[in-house]
Symmetry: C2
Subunit: 204 residues, 2 copies
């Protein structure tokens, strides 16, 4: 899939393994999420800058795209059915929009791990807090590069290794001014049991 | 699947076609959703009575159940990863937790219908308003009896006729005191193009 954005990025961010970041982007800018080492997942969520009661909706987005696997050309909608992002490039083609960001409870319920464990939910909550977003407002995230096959008979989900290879990326064009939260995922299964960083570029 | 609840219901509600209802139920009570005529869908959502910032989360529920098709024995979780309902009986076994309640925009975007059309979203918003729930708080609903097969290769969704026959039901045991919103669905495709009522019982 061709990359039509050739000018240097306005901003670059490097997310260390098991971390998160909150920032704003303007309508028309492109958010590029890059997997520098391959097989890493990045949970993304967004809120309208002018009213954070408007949030990125997995249900609206999958409903209007009529698929669980969104890729180039698909629009990510808000709970108010307004476009928040358009996917303008995608070198992987497999992302998850079914599952929530891993949280402390994920590690207790799924991984049976009673000890402290970093999580995408905590990393989103911590980094979106300064923008006025409360933890309870965090919806189901768009889990970039996360590979979740579905058994069509039983509905059973498998958390498979991401299909992303080093340097793969996805481009999301902002369709409104947004507050964005992004992580370098903290869950063992999602990343094929090796924590890696995520690179972010914002392009005008 | 056996029905272990034999005492008469504490409350009964009849939802006419394309309508909705808001009400409260207490922890330990069972919410029975009945499809009296077959092939009808009922969108359900819930909020914690003591703090409506806690809401029914499709992402948490599918994540912890490890399936998109929840049925008897599965727990429906809140965004705070606390059990809201347990499915204690289910005579159908196929429900949807991917898609949002149909809204005015659904009929514009998917059905290309520019005129007014009743919708589950509007029916939920209208009936949950008196309980202090704002429309923006309505999450992806648990769409009871809705039949949405997934193509495992492409992720494409099909809205198929419900598998429910007259008298089929699902029982949801409340695991906390809840504000509940329920609809008799308004979308043509979901109900095999015939609008029908939904019956509700609350059992102690």
């Amino acid at each position: 899939m061709s990359d039509t954005l050739s000018s240097p990025p306005t901003q670059r961010f490097h997310l260390p393994p098991q971390s998160g970041l909150g920032f704003t982007i303007r309508r028309g800018q492109t958010l590029r999420i890059i997997d520098p080492q391959g097989e890493q997942v990045s949970d993304v969520t967004a809120f309208a800058q002018n009213d954070p009661s408007e949030w990125l909706s997995s249900g609206r987005s999958m409903d209007y795209a009529n698929t669980i696997y969104l890729s180039t050309g698909h629009v990510l909608y808000s709970n108010r059915s307004r476009p928040m992002f358009t996917i303008t490039a995608d070198t992987v083609g497999r992302h998850d929009f079914l599952l929530t960001p891993c949280s402390p409870e994920t590690f207790q319920i799924i991984y049976k791990n009673a000890d402290y464990h970093p999580s995408c939910f905590e990393n989103l909550a911590k980094n979106l807090g300064p923008f006025g977003i409360r933890p309870d407002q965090i919806p189901t995230t768009f889990n970039i590069f996360m590979n979740v096959p579905v058994n069509p008979e039983t509905g059973e989900l498998t958390i498979a290794p991401p299909l992303s290879r080093p340097g793969d990326h996805i481009d999301l064009r902002a369709e409104m001014d947004l507050i964005v939260g992004v992580t370098a995922c903290s869950a063992e299964m999602s990343n094929n049991y090796r924590f890696k960083p995520i690179d972010i570029e914002v392009l005008d």
